[in-house]
Symmetry: D2
Subunit: 335 residues, 4 copies
């Protein structure tokens, strides 16, 4: 039984993570943290979890956490996450970081996009980007895994194999993503007030969203050339789900069947990727750890459509998947 701490336990991804881990036969949640000092019971923070785990959400330091837990999931904000992870790793804990802190390899890129010097720059290059479908072999031995962002997972899964197979060109890729509002976090903000974003769709962070460098880094890895995508996220009036429509120029004329065949080959043995013929809806995957993908060809471009649950495959589910791989459990346990 692995003793588990969840840091930053008050947010939505943490709530899903706790829910998933409660059903995990090899995991026992032993600590929940927050950076405030209120010490509420878990059931008061997340009413849906009332009666399921008798723990307070406490303001704990790294020492206390590492005494209570073997494996730590951090759902803290970036920067805060790396600061405590440095200490947790030193104390011997294993860590799945759901923040963005260890996703980028390059401290300069981190500084540019997050406007902040990385607290632990030397570890960036060596930390595995925890997208099991593409980097599975590097996960089992890891003490630290960087859990991918929700948008990146949705865009990388369809595009990476097509780039590796040279079916599409790395230049000029456009990713137009649509996300439910839970992706924006739990803090009440004016533009996330119900009557503001209900019955409304809007774009945000056009060309400037922090998930962009993460997508660029992984696609560059598969394209073997520096890639810079145009990424446009949109806010959709629903709780959960991301649909990404990705546009990429075909390297040579082919039809959708050829592209689908590449994806099916790549993901044939993946438990959580489904290549589908029809156009998927986010509804097909919400509440699950699946990413459903299809692709079409229009005017010489691949148009890939991919859907996932931003809180599960895009966060907590991927984290449990990484945890399973780190510890050698069946990858699908509790998922």
């Amino acid at each position: 039984m692995v003793r588990i701490a969840v840091l930053g336990a008050t947010g939505y991804a943490a709530r899903e993570l706790i829910r998933l881990l409660l059903a995990h036969p090899q995991a026992q949640i032993t600590a929940l943290t927050t950076r405030s000092n209120d010490q509420p019971a878990l059931g008061d923070v997340h009413p849906t979890l009332r009666g399921r785990l008798d723990l307070k959400v406490e303001n704990l330091d790294a020492t206390a956490i590492s005494q209570r837990a073997d494996c730590v999931f951090s759902a803290l904000p970036h920067a805060a996450s790396a600061e405590i992870i440095v200490e947790l790793l030193a104390a011997g804990a294993r860590v799945v970081d759901l923040s963005a802190d260890y996703r980028l390899n390059d401290p300069a890129a981190y500084k540019k996009w997050y406007d902040h010097d990385h607290p632990d720059p030397s570890r960036l290059a060596e930390t595995v980007y925890g997208l099991p479908e593409l980097y599975r072999e590097r996960i089992p031995g890891s003490q630290l895994v960087a859990n991918p962002g929700c948008y990146p997972t949705s865009a990388i899964l369809p595009l990476a194999p097509l780039l590796r197979e040279r079916a599409i060109l790395p230049a000029g890729i456009i990713i137009d993503s649509k996300s439910g509002v839970s992706g924006a976090g739990r803090t009440a903000k004016a533009h996330l007030h119900f009557p503001e974003c209900n019955e409304a769709v809007s774009a945000y962070g056009v060309g400037s969203h922090r998930h962009t460098p993460e997508i660029d880094q992984v696609l560059s890895d598969f394209a073997d050339v520096q890639t810079a995508v145009t990424f446009t996220p949109h806010l959709i009036p629903m709780d959960r789900g991301i649909l990404s429509t990705s546009y990429a120029t075909l390297s040579q004329d082919c039809d959708a069947a050829a592209l689908l065949a590449i994806l099916r080959r790549q993901y044939a043995n993946e438990p959580f990727v489904r290549i589908v013929d029809g156009l998927p809806s986010t509804k097909d995957v919400v509440g699950t750890n699946y990413c459903d993908i299809t692709v079409r060809v229009v005017h010489g471009r691949a148009v890939a459509v991919s859907v996932l649950d931003n809180l599960i495959k895009g966060a907590a589910g991927a984290a449990v998947q990484n945890f399973n791989l780190m510890y050698g459990f069946d990858e699908t346990t509790a998922l």
Copy 2:
């Protein structure tokens, strides 16, 4: 042309009010106020109104307001509203108060429900409750009209005629109301954060909502006996609309047709009340100044179902209706 000021112009009811007044041939908006000092352009506060009125939203005192405007609509919070209205009335302005400050006749009731000494207690008893369908004759001569609350309008319109005709008993009335989230105002709050109230219904203020004494006061007036309703508001995941389901014991056996006949007689000449045979949806009235009402009989009780747009018939539309009556314009102008 009546020069108009709208106080507290940043909220949703004020936005609807401005929109309606922009189409009013006898009204010219000359001042918009807020209690902050930012002085934003109207179009920045309410993007939907961009380009429609070249005014800033300013922090103005009563003197400045009364110099610029003949008639003032106050959408300020309670207490703040009465404080400036005292001065505006002294300066000769006419006022439609969308806050709750002048709705109750009794300063003690105000103190009890609003936890605050009324700043202008002597004027309470004489101020007309501006529900034109029931108190129209008192509105034309008024310098000040208290615009009714959204829930009260939805519940009073079906119940008052049935009480006056002694078709239902005043004891034991239950009003179970369902409101869209715009009724909770524009300020971002944790429980109004999109992912919290989307895909959710909840009750709030059970037995303690501040609209209760307002309903009690008017129903007591029509029942000729002190009436105390049980009022339960619920938050519904939609922008706008209120549906109230009201339950009242029949005073003697009758069928729905008899009750509908009473309502049809009462409202035969009303431009904004529609007595309907079918069960109405809030969708039938959102964006309009209508209140649609029907009634059924179940197990010796009248079950009235009424719908209105909380921001129009429940606020801004009623205010314009009152304005039209105060000034002798056609009651339906701009509505």
Copy 3:
């Protein structure tokens, strides 16, 4: 391992049931039926289940079903359900009926409310109403369990203990319920078309909803006197969840704490009922088998607020709970 058939597998409750049973260690789904002859793959009927169970949805008769399965869950429409259940029982299968066919004890009541002669009237009186929190002791020995309706479960759980303890009077109970649209089933209908019921709330079936006699029957059982509730369901623009606001006259003056104490006593050891102090939201229970309940006292009335997921505790979850009890498995397995 119990071999399971799900009849009427194309609807929403069946989808949830299949999803739950896939995680049940003692259950193996071996047959899925529909009354059409298309024989689609399960994943085409329910895209969210794609890749999870390699079965077609077939038009099977009772013989074929009873050969393939030990236990049958019927999610067929009423009447159709009883017709095949008669045959399945004769063939020795055990059955959980999610339809309304075996819920009422009295064939005459069935005929009155469902406008149809019951195909198996002699079995009505003896069949257990499968609300485990109230009739658990009768479930283990049953060959057939009638799974309760979604609205009835939400209303009965708070009211039955208060009636049994004589804290509230059986006369004049009002149940005002609010349900997400999945409760209306999967068949596309004009009033369930997205733009018709989105951003709208409406009442339906006022005084005539078929869940009324089911509520009356159980409450009468606990009140020891014939009870006839006034039940008003409302359609809420959300997928899932029911909130019922129930109003009942106190038999003698008491406060909410006394009522909460009764409920806490009743449900102290129940795994799926949570008595809460605050006002619950449907969001607290959607996706779970919980029913959360609180109660207030207003003007001499108990006002109970209860929430559940109509497809889980109101249908598929309760069915699995009944299955667990029938077979002696841990009651919470797969829930």
Copy 4:
């Protein structure tokens, strides 16, 4: 006073059209048609219009229509629309066609995309595409105006001026559009059933949507070269509103300010186009005839974001705007 008929009066665009025309001082609605024979009252077809116009919705032929009306708005489906318009024009009526029948210049393109021989091919080339902001000078003299599609209006308004000014290249334009569900019409369909499209986003008609040739035609006109866009519409869980995110390669390096300047110049005097600095929400325009537009530059591409109400600027509002221009009324009357 112009006597008006609305054909196909049962749909959503027709409802909005009737609502707008009821406020038009020079229009009098004298006939409403449907192709069924039920003859319902308008208020039964569109409950929100109850009590506003005492007309039945009738099955009328061209002769009856042209006797009753001077100007006919057709909201019939394609093909059916042109068939009756031929007769109406012959009878001397003036027509605004909200269907797609007269939008394309080329009968072969019509045949290809609508899979149907055009009933009136000779009139296609001469009929004005009624997008007033781009073709205003051709509208006043017209007997027939083809009202543009909702998606095309949203995409053409930002792109056409940038193409005309050669700021962007015509090759490789991508239009990724997000629409509320009312755009799919009023007929109940399985994929538009509330629980199917609520809390869901999906793409549809990828590369094959019938609005594509209409966009291509107009953009080709402004680019002076044959243009073929990649158009991907998405269904968003909201009633109304379209947001289109359009991607086009810059012809030479420039910043967003330069592109905004082009758009501001083009639309400086347009009453219904607002070029905004911030990223617009569909909420800013729903219920209005505005199209709000902004543009950004990312990696050498213009990223234009445009929003409009699909039923108003995308249908009924544009139709009234065209009507006003045809008859020489102030263009903004009733809008």
